[in-house]
Symmetry: C2
Subunit: 186 residues, 2 copies
Amino acid sequence: MKDKRTAILEATLKLISERGFHGTSMQMVADIAKVGAGTIYRYFENKEDLLSKLYVELKIEFSEVLLANYDSTLSFRGRFHNLWKNMVHYSIDNPQKTAYMEQYTNSPFCDHTMEEIHKKYFSKVANFINEAITQEVIKDVPIDIIAIFTFETAVALAKKHSNGMINLNDENIEIAVNMCWDALKK
Amino acid sequence: MKDKRTAILEATLKLISERGFHGTSMQMVADIAKVGAGTIYRYFENKEDLLSKLYVELKIEFSEVLLANYDSTLSFRGRFHNLWKNMVHYSIDNPQKTAYMEQYTNSPFCDHTMEEIHKKYFSKVANFINEAITQEVIKDVPIDIIAIFTFETAVALAKKHSNGMINLNDENIEIAVNMCWDALKK
DNA sequence: TATTAAAGAATGAATGTTCATTCCGAAATT
DNA sequence: AATTTCGGAATGAACATTCATTCTTTAATA
């Protein structure tokens, strides 16, 4: 039988991605997780702790996906294409996780504590970018600006796809990744 | 003395941008607006209605800012630069409004009703983009993809600036708008 | 048997909303 | 001009409900 902590996290993800923070009570989480309400407090300090732990776990998973097929024999452009497409495919395939992360990021829950988490888990991606800058393959621009053009566009595209507002088929993904690369390349 | 409806909207903006939906009660709004709690319900059906009306008003204001200095004698590139910079400057100068809109967009409050609102108020911007596509100045790509590369990057940059995570000085803005144009141009 | 885990009813604080009442300016009446 | 009447805007205490969290009891485990 599934571990209760995991069941609680999965229930939280499902409920909050569909109904938002304000629309999700601890009782609902307990019901969906098929767990007593009090049990949640054996695994998490309180609601805020639960939300924050879930966010961090999702971000770590996300950061690992990005470099899943990293291949240093490829050109920077090739590696970037892989990384970017990984991001889009993950976001499309996991709409609830994407919605949750976006919601959390834009809430006051997400304080400056999270910056360190981001720095820590995305350090390899940062190294890759910095290397590309050093080798004058992409523009010499503050890395946070590069990150925005890379991450935000991919996630936003996937969100709009999940909303049914655009159709992100392979052709459109190819178009988009090339637009992104055009923005970055020297 | 300031009109009460406006006072309520301003209080809501301030509180929710700082404390989020869940952290803002109607009583708090009433206190900040210096209004009785019941008075809110003379102007808005309920909390959801208040949040939605505020969002629509902000979006309309935003859409008007974009084309404030529209000048059809300029090149497409020139017009795009103006539009994009308007967006960034507005987002930087109005961090609370930006935070509120982002929070609302990523919440389940924001349903498909809002799509029509967006379509309506951003139609002039859409016309501009479509014209640029027709004249083969920018890539022939679904307009929603263009929109994401334009809007999301600008707003995300401004948000990170307001967080203190990057410093969006004039130089960086110039860099960023050029990156954006590189993504779009044919 | 002793210890830990789980459950879910109980609790008290907080929330959105309502509604009986007050207030205020303008019109009507004297 | 002075007084009364009137309408609706504004109020905020009161209400039912919901919520996060705690507590007590029961079950499982070693």
